[in-house]
């Protein structure tokens, strides 16, 4: 588990240094998905979730750190915040063992583990020799689990690889929530 970073002294600096991005930031790239579970209608997109803070949890169903830490944390986030304030979205970014984690397996996994999060299946790369799915490459994920926080204006503000502490994730979400404006 990665050591939690401290919230730095100056709060203005805190946000910048914690998030690693300028406050203005880049808009979150669109999500390329082939299928959704626990969600009906048009595929979810960060642009369509503007006004809310978005927590994107990228995982693989056979990644132990995702099963034991990342997904339970994503479920706790969904339980702790109102859906109108914070949208928690799962993204199944398979970059290894592709045949082992097909959507039919993911569907049973979500069912058996009672995961009610909306989960998109990251789209396979157009280049069939590329094991990295489209959204994963767009966002530059280093692996799974990865946690992305997107602000109310649709900009990526935080990007973390590996296990994170609930305290600091909760604090970061609240900082983005407080940016009402």
């Amino acid at each position: 588990m990665m050591a939690p970073s401290k919230l730095p002294r100056q709060l203005a600096d805190t946000w910048q240094s914690r998030l690693g991005l300028a406050p203005a930031g880049e808009p979150a790239p669109p999500w390329a998905t082939s299928r959704w579970f626990n969600h009906e209608g048009a595929p979810l997109q960060p642009a369509a979730l503007r006004g809310r803070v978005v927590v994107l949890h990228a995982f693989q169903m056979l990644c132990p750190a995702c099963v034991h830490h990342g997904l339970p944390q994503a479920q706790r986030i969904q339980a702790a915040f109102a859906a109108d304030d914070v949208a928690v979205v799962g993204l199944h970014t398979v970059f290894e063992h592709h045949a082992a984690m097909m959507p039919v397996s993911l569907e049973a996994f979500l069912h058996e583990n009672r995961i009610r999060l909306a989960v998109g299946v990251d789209a396979v790369a157009a280049d069939a020799t590329d094991p990295i799915p489209v959204t994963m490459r767009r966002y530059g994920f280093q692996g799974t689990p990865s946690l992305v926080l997107i602000d109310r204006k649709g900009r990526v503000r935080r990007h973390a690889f590996g296990a994170e502490e609930d305290l600091t994730v909760g604090a970061a979400i609240a900082v983005l929530l407080a940016e009402v404006g």
Copy 2:
């Protein structure tokens, strides 16, 4: 463990309803202490900590929920935030088994559990028949563990009895941190 309350939909409402207090709030009552551990100099007081968010963790060293949940959480809070932003303070509010939890026992407890928090010993009531110590009565704690959040202006903004989730405590601290100025 108490169910975590959801952050309500309207953020302006959220803060009020979560904290149960008007934004203006009352100044935090002073702490009446007979002794401090892990702190030298003048006894700590909320007024002297203005400018920082203060997390006051009231506990008893023989209270299982304090040992297994509250104190580890207080230590995680201290590790997660910079000391110049957030002051985490312990208060040993003995209201039962007084002879069992004298300062000599508390000192060994803190040492053996490697608790580095500043911990004040809540002062015994002037009325010798009153088992409730002075600060506990001033704050109206229902028992231990109790967690109080005091804002940068020294006002009590949140008051919780029992176990709380890290996610919501981290979020509440960040909301107070964001109230700069």
Copy 3:
């Protein structure tokens, strides 16, 4: 988690009542498997393991109680006892979500979770409409996880469905180990 049953007062009675079987018992039915992981050569069979105590852990890779309790326990058993005394064998008894838990998925699951146990894949029923695999039906498993203890003479001596405590499982294994000769 099921309540642990107490070892009854009379040790002679203990074994019988705990195991629910007469000491003589029935020979363990053979295992019908289509494939093995972490094992090379002829398929494992209880008859070929005579002389050792055999711990058979029946699981499904997407069964949460198996992932979080049963498989870690099986790994602890393998670590705690010498391989010449106790043979720990996994059996993947898929009786639901068949397409989700094909051997290609099981292989990745074992790899990612670093499970070194020999694991057999329970054979699909000859009757294609029967979702229950062959060995599961022979043993009468009620579901997963199931834990079977087979004594040094190849007889089923204990048969448990659901989570069990390490203390009582360790005790039961030792009782069978003590039946030398």
Copy 4:
């Protein structure tokens, strides 16, 4: 946490090597206690418990490894085995912070943690300069937690310092239980 030792291959050797003592062994030294909790009548003694397997758990109430591992394990042992087969006894062996762990504190500790084990208070040494209590010195404990297994004939058969796995403790108890007669 100490690594669990494997039960060695030859069962005859297993018992000897695991227990570190010849099967004949020495009789367990008597317990020197100044007081008992959760037990009325004559002070408990190993000689008076002959016929049963005795599990002696030596602890200090402010020792974190005792609070978080040793005492919960002792309670699980008491719950898993019948009282007529296995007697679980606690011994409060204070060798440091004496003033912090007086009987009045121990009593509240046992009450608050709902520990129903019979617990004896190890007697202070006759030599007032010796911090090691009498029974601790007789048994040669290296510290707390220590776990001693005494067989049905009153002989010390196993002596462990530090955390132990439930699986191996359960197995060792069962081996002693199986020594009927």
